[in-house]
Symmetry: C2
Subunit: 218 residues, 2 copies
DNA sequence: TCTGCCATGTAAGCCGTTACATGATTTT
DNA sequence: AAAATCATGTAACGGCTTACATGGCAGA
């Protein structure tokens, strides 16, 4: 799961570990807290040994910004290899029941723009099923055991039910959208939120496009 | 955290491990998946060694149901000790920053009916703070980096923002409620959901009441 | 100069899971 | 008689965090 995330990010552009961690926590911020270095660096090592990633020579200053520094300390920049890309696709397509768990689902979702439509649908549907089951669980507890639980526990169940219900509806919209052919999820339908709403959002990337401007690296 | 949950449940009534696991997954279903036996039984052992719980003699058939069985297999029934109750209160009151994490917060919340009002408030406020920070993180990403992220990643951020925003509002209601003196969280305010709406829910327990059939402690 | 952030790494350990092993009791 | 579910446990391993150790570079 960390593998998937790292390969995915490096697929977008080469990066060193420290940067990787930051990107990870913004890209997957909705899913999990920042990963620790004690986990990140050994994983990078492992991925390198496996041949999925290699060290790239610290990008020789493509953009002539701040060139005078020999090479600020180590700063090992990694990039994904061809095998790594294959591996990445394999991991994406591996849709076992674990892929519907909260964390795994989130990671898969985060890389949906690199995933085939049918895989996306399988994941979204599997996730929906899972959340529906969860939701039914809450409903049953609320219906059957309501009298036996204290008010706080009940409130927790209600909150859980509400969240599950919302997620199911969210997933349904996404599924409908995938089926309709329009690839990128359109936002705004269920608005209410977004207070200042920076207009930027409607410049949605054409999707299927290459991972943005390589620049970044350094 | 498992300790807290187990002590909490045994505080309500004596139970054997298997039963404990089931109760745990309904009571904390909104928080975490069922705990595995490989974790549960060793923990029970540890709690027993520490003196927080003891084996109770398989409840001598208080309710005269199915008495003819000698004692179906082992079935070790545990009950909480006086020290265990103290320990439980200590754990509840230990409101370090970890108590605001998703899982820990949920467990604390689930046992709010056994917690002092001021502790409840501290936890709710700490949690709110945490979720607010999370929410701001999403907002910043959406405002600042919107163009650089693909449509799916953006959608994930939006969904995260929405969930965080909802939770903050939920917490605010709970906090207001605690402050107002009315102990039990009133439900229904933000309704919309509950489709068949089993009426059961409005027979809300008076709270402050002992957890169900008081007996328990023993 | 010193604080703070960038940057990489290692070692120990926590907290939990999976898989296995066993057997009693209940239901079909 | 078989299948399901109740019930308890152990051993091995896995993923991740914490704490530690090291050092470069930037700006106050």
């Amino acid at each position: 799961m960390l593998d998937l995330a790292i390969l995915g990010l490096l697929h977008e552009s080469p990066m060193h570990g420290y940067e990787l961690r930051k990107q990870l926590s913004t890209k997957l911020g909705a899913i999990r807290a920042a990963i620790s270095y004690g986990s990140l660096y050994p994983t990078l090592r492992r991925l390198q040994t496996a041949g999925w990633i290699t060290e790239a020579g610290e990008t020789p200053a493509d953009d002539a910004d701040v060139p005078p520094l020999t090479s600020r300390r180590g700063r090992v920049v990694y990039k994904i290899t061809a095998e790594g890309k294959e591996r990445f696709q394999d991991l994406l397509a591996q849709v076992g029941p674990e892929a519907y768990e909260d964390a795994a689902f989130g990671v898969h979702f985060a890389f949906f723009s690199r995933t085939e439509v049918d895989i996306r649908l399988r994941i979204l549907e599997g996730r929906r099923r899972k959340v529906e089951e969860r939701r039914e669980g809450f409903r049953e507890v609320l219906q059957r055991a309501a009298e036996r639980l204290d008010a706080y526990t009940l409130e927790l169940q209600r909150h859980g039910l509400d969240a599950a219900d919302r997620e199911v509806r969210w997933l349904e919209e996404l599924i409908a959208n995938e089926r309709s052919g329009r690839t990128p999820p359109p936002r705004g339908s269920e608005g209410e939120l977004r207070p200042p709403t920076p207009r930027s959002t409607d410049s949605a990337p054409p999707l299927t496009a290459r991972p943005g401007p390589d620049d970044s690296a350094e």
